[in-house]
């Protein structure tokens, strides 16, 4: 008994530390409790809302390859949605990085953009979608416009704050090394804030997925949003749950990709030195 208390005690100490092995064990406990909890609810005889495991498995098979029509829903939706998200995130990143870098070094640019960005950032992109639908119709351009509008302000602000954190001393000593302004900004400061830029882009992806789903929901032609709008009408939960798990998995994969990118592009970067 005493040994048992000794084993579990570190878990209940404030700011205590837990070994790697324990962390993994606790993670499995968490997964297991979700699975067991779900099973208890799903196999309850009054339950009509949660599909059973066998239904979910059949649903997963159906969305991967439809036995009747031969469509690959999951894969096609992924392609459709990400063909909208990736170019949009690219455009928003370029706009955000340029604005953020110059705001960080020029007081004039900061004065020009900071309030405007706060204002724009507070307009819900799903609301302003009305305009884009009128301007562009239900076209590729509309999706891109919604996403870009929704995320470039965030990216610009994060980049701006990262550049702003660089000390005056460093910039003054660069100036006395005879660097031109654009050299200071793009040759020295840009690589220096690249880790924060990568993080900013990563953090913009989750909202980008939100905006693309709501735009697709409204336009109703293809993509995740379209699929979810169909599910909501037909109430087919055994298809919806696998989709949600898939979206979560994509998020985890994206995180891994971005962490790897940071490690490859910025080998000098250590979070704890910040």
């Amino acid at each position: 008994m005493r040994a048992l208390i000794k084993t579990f005690k570190p878990l209940f100490v404030i700011r205590g530390s837990v070994s790697q092995r324990w962390q993994i064990a606790i993670f499995f406990i968490a997964i297991l409790s979700i699975v067991i909890g779900y099973s208890l609810l799903a196999y309850d005889k009054d339950n009509r809302l949660l599909p059973t495991w066998s239904m979910l498995f059949a649903g997963l098979q159906k969305i991967i390859t439809d036995p009747v029509t031969g469509d690959h829903y999951l894969w096609e939706d992924t392609i459709d949605s990400f063909c909208r998200i990736i170019p949009a995130v690219g455009i928003a990143s370029v706009i955000g990085i340029v604005i953020g870098m110059y705001m960080g070094v020029y007081a004039g640019a900061e004065a020009f953009f900071s309030r405007i960005l706060t204002f724009i950032g507070n307009i819900a992109p799903n609301a302003i979608m009305v305009l884009f639908i009128v301007y562009f119709g239900y076209q590729f351009k509309m999706y891109v416009a919604v996403i870009v509008f929704g995320i470039f302000t965030m990216i610009a602000k994060t980049v701006f704050e990262a550049v702003k954190e660089i000390s005056d001393e460093e910039i003054f000593s660069l100036k006395s090394l005879n660097a031109s302004s654009s050299e200071i900004v793009w040759t020295v400061l840009f690589p220096q804030v690249l880790p924060q830029i990568i993080t900013a882009i990563h953090q913009a992806i989750a909202p980008a997925i939100i905006y693309v789903i709501s735009a697709e929901w409204v336009s109703g032609s293809s993509g995740f949003g379209y699929r979810f709008s169909m599910f909501s009408r037909s109430g087919r939960l055994e298809l919806t749950f696998p989709y949600l798990l898939y979206l979560g998995a994509i998020g985890v994969l994206t995180l891994a990709i971005f962490n790897l990118t940071t490690r490859l592009l910025c080998p000098w970067y250590r979070k704890e030195t910040k």
């Binding site: 005056d168 460093e170 000593s173 100036k175 006395s176 654009s182 050299e183 793009w186 080998p267 000098w268």
Partner: protein
């Protein structure tokens, strides 16, 4: 230079002044920080500036660096008898700060080679140079020069390390090398070793002392001494050890005789010759202590009502007591 025909010039005439602070005042809004600073700094001098916290030492340094302009008075750099007023930053005046202002994404050697890269090339120039292969060649030269400096400063094993892998002392040595590779007229150091512990500090001070020895050698050969350093520090022993001239800045003023109704700001209240040590010397604790005590009484404890009494540097030089690079009037001073 020193002797023209048979006439021996007076020491003051043959001194090569490189920086002239001509009655400088600096105020930030209502707050007067510096009042009436007049200094002439000769080429090759290592000047320690000391003073209480917030008395304006860093402000003076930043003005010389080019970050601020004086509210009144003129700041002149003199090179080959041409006077230029300081206006903005320039490669002629490098500065090293206490808080390790070196970019974290460049290795030690890249950091030192950054100066030549930024000042000798431009972004389009480097792009074109990649095509014509001229940039990689130039880059190799830069890196080689950077390596020489780092090896001299004892960083042979740290050439390709990123700053987060370097200790505070190593980072400051990289920062000093980064400025010196630009061959500035004046190097400004703002409490560079303030955050270092005692043992590492000694190594860093030795680096400055070795630079001073270069100055002496150049002087003995009749050449221009290559390094002029203005050095702000909190440590009195460091000031006496490294500098050949100690300048105290403080807010001591005699309001009865000078009759200001508002504090005029800090001014020079101590300016004297300091003993010269070489790297090999074991600093004589007694002399260091004597000097430190005198400076401490005058600068920090306000026992100096008349601003001029302890500003005797040029008189000392005049009477032949100026040593080090100032001793080059004909005979060599040991």
């Amino acid at each position: 230079m020193v002797q023209k025909g048979d006439k021996v010039m007076s020491p003051l005439e043959c001194v090569d002044i490189t920086l002239h602070c001509d009655h400088i005042h600096k105020a930030f809004g209502e707050q007067r920080v510096l009042g009436d600073i007049t200094l002439k700094i000769a080429r090759g001098q290592f000047i320690s500036i000391i003073g209480g916290s917030g008395c304006g030492k860093s402000t003076l340094l930043n003005m010389i660096h080019g970050t601020f302009k004086p509210t009144q008075g003129r700041l002149l750099t003199i090179s080959d008898e041409v006077e230029t007023e300081i206006d903005g930053h320039s490669r002629e005046r490098g500065m090293v700060f206490q808080n390790y202002s070196i970019p974290p994404h460049l290795t030690a050697i890249e950091n030192v080679a950054l100066g030549p890269m930024l000042s000798e090339t431009s972004i389009p120039g480097r792009m074109l140079g990649r095509v014509t292969r001229s940039w990689p060649r130039l880059r190799r030269e830069h890196l080689q020069k950077a390596e020489e400096w780092l090896v001299r400063f004892g960083l042979k094993d740290a050439l390709h390390k990123y700053p987060h892998k370097l200790s505070g002392g190593m980072k400051q040595r990289v920062a000093i090398a980064r400025e010196l590779i630009m061959e500035p007229e004046i190097l400004l150091l703002d409490e560079p070793f303030g955050a270092l512990d005692e043992a590492i500090r000694k190594d860093a001070q030795d680096i400055l002392l070795s630079l001073y020895e270069d100055n002496m050698k150049a002087r003995a050969r009749g050449k221009k001494p290559p390094y002029t350093i203005i050095f702000v520090t909190h440590s009195l022993t460091e000031a006496v050890l490294v500098g050949d001239r100690v300048i105290g800045i403080g807010r001591n003023w005699d309001w009865k005789s000078e009759g200001f109704d508002q504090h005029p700001g800090a001014s020079v209240i101590y300016d004297k010759v300091a003993p010269i040590y070489s790297v090999k010397d074991v600093a004589d604790a007694g002399t260091l202590l004597k000097h430190s005590r005198e400076i401490s009484e005058m600068v920090f404890h306000g026992q100096n009502n008349n601003r001029q009494t302890h500003c005797t540097f040029w008189n000392e030089v005049h009477s032949g007591r100026g040593r080090g690079v100032m001793s080059g009037h004909g005979e060599k001073d040991e």
